[in-house]
Subunit: 189 residues, 3 copies
Amino acid sequence: MSIAERPVGSAAGTTEERIAALERRIAELEAGQPHDKVSMVVFSGDLDRVLAAFIIATGAAAMGQQVDMYFTFWGLTALKERTELDGKTLMQRMMALMTPGSSKGLPASRMNFLGAGPVMLRAMMKEKNVESLEQLMDLARELGVTIIACDMAQGVMGIRDSELMPDLEHGGVGTFLASALRSRATLFI
Amino acid sequence: MSIAERPVGSAAGTTEERIAALERRIAELEAGQPHDKVSMVVFSGDLDRVLAAFIIATGAAAMGQQVDMYFTFWGLTALKERTELDGKTLMQRMMALMTPGSSKGLPASRMNFLGAGPVMLRAMMKEKNVESLEQLMDLARELGVTIIACDMAQGVMGIRDSELMPDLEHGGVGTFLASALRSRATLFI
Amino acid sequence: MSIAERPVGSAAGTTEERIAALERRIAELEAGQPHDKVSMVVFSGDLDRVLAAFIIATGAAAMGQQVDMYFTFWGLTALKERTELDGKTLMQRMMALMTPGSSKGLPASRMNFLGAGPVMLRAMMKEKNVESLEQLMDLARELGVTIIACDMAQGVMGIRDSELMPDLEHGGVGTFLASALRSRATLFI
């Protein structure tokens, strides 16, 4: 109902009825409020984009927000710690061999020729005493950031839980959406 | 006005005045509430990113959200069904020849050498019985997802309505923003 | 507290107590409301993506929203007006030479071979009387859009204030987040 339609400032009903109506309306508003929460899809597997995601995530967590990071597609490669090939289909093995085996092997979205981009980026960050990606990932977990691996993308790419870092949450698109619909800000990275 | 400034818990005015003030304030809050809505800009024309957009869109629609997808720049190529060249400027014809003629021709953002990326991605999804992009697009429309083609990008790239799938909405940046400002979550993909 | 738990429509306390409680609850809701604000991270330095960012930013500003654009990583190159090399580390000089010296040199995310992409895109936009990136940037500033350069990325890439356009704001991830948590829509571009 729009502002114009609703009786405003005029006595509609008894005092008791009006207070009860206000209590109902305010409870509905409270139930629909966003939580102190930031959610993101980490779709990219580029070092620079994953870095940006963790800088924002740790910043938000330090500001008291609950942060949910949902890793899917190439983003999953940032969560890998090892590569297993046995028992995978031919295409899953090809995919595993053509994508990074861990966060240390992530390419950069720019200047990636001969792998120079990620090496330069990491060296330049170190020069300025900025945390490395791996340090930011540890910090995120210490700060209580929730890291969720996308079930469907894992299945399609053939990435097993045993290839990923320990203590991850797992979920589907509904997991991400339930978080996003309650968040103050949602990013697709 | 901040919490501190507002008289709280103290009798400011008569009961009638206080109830009327509350009714006004609550009507304003209700008018400013986000709707059960998710909006996205689909800027990318990469198969993997467009897939992610439709997986999120159909998931959100299944959860009862109204979903508005605004296709612009390379994203428009995902909505194409055919290519017409006659009557276009030289640059528009070059652009048409250098971009995919339909969703079936979308490249992948990674491993795209010799077109291997999209072929592998589609085969791996089929292996796991995940819907194809085209099936997800059909599902999105069945679920009532609104697909909007960006007027300005169509004009610049010279893409005609007759080249796009039927029954699309058309709009400008104001159409997207009107939706985004009312959404629980907005994504740029 | 959920709707179910809260006493609704029943007299809980005196009229005075109930009105005071409503006033407190509504003040809390008002304090948590988003502002008429749109925020974005401009991470990409691709001409087409930066164009999309400024089209959305100027559109939102024209619709009465306060817009905060936070430029980081490659996005900073869109704010450059000149390149200074003296006094930089070897890697910072390499980075400066391998990235565009101003918005005029931004590459396109697609069809960038031999620089054809940006030239075509700019020519096609001019053909349709769409504002150039530089005109949109001027318009954004006239409309009061806030342009923030990321301190940390400037430090890492060795980009000095004297290389960037004048009258920018500067800030860190906390600056962006403070804005995003109060925004109706947040985009990562």
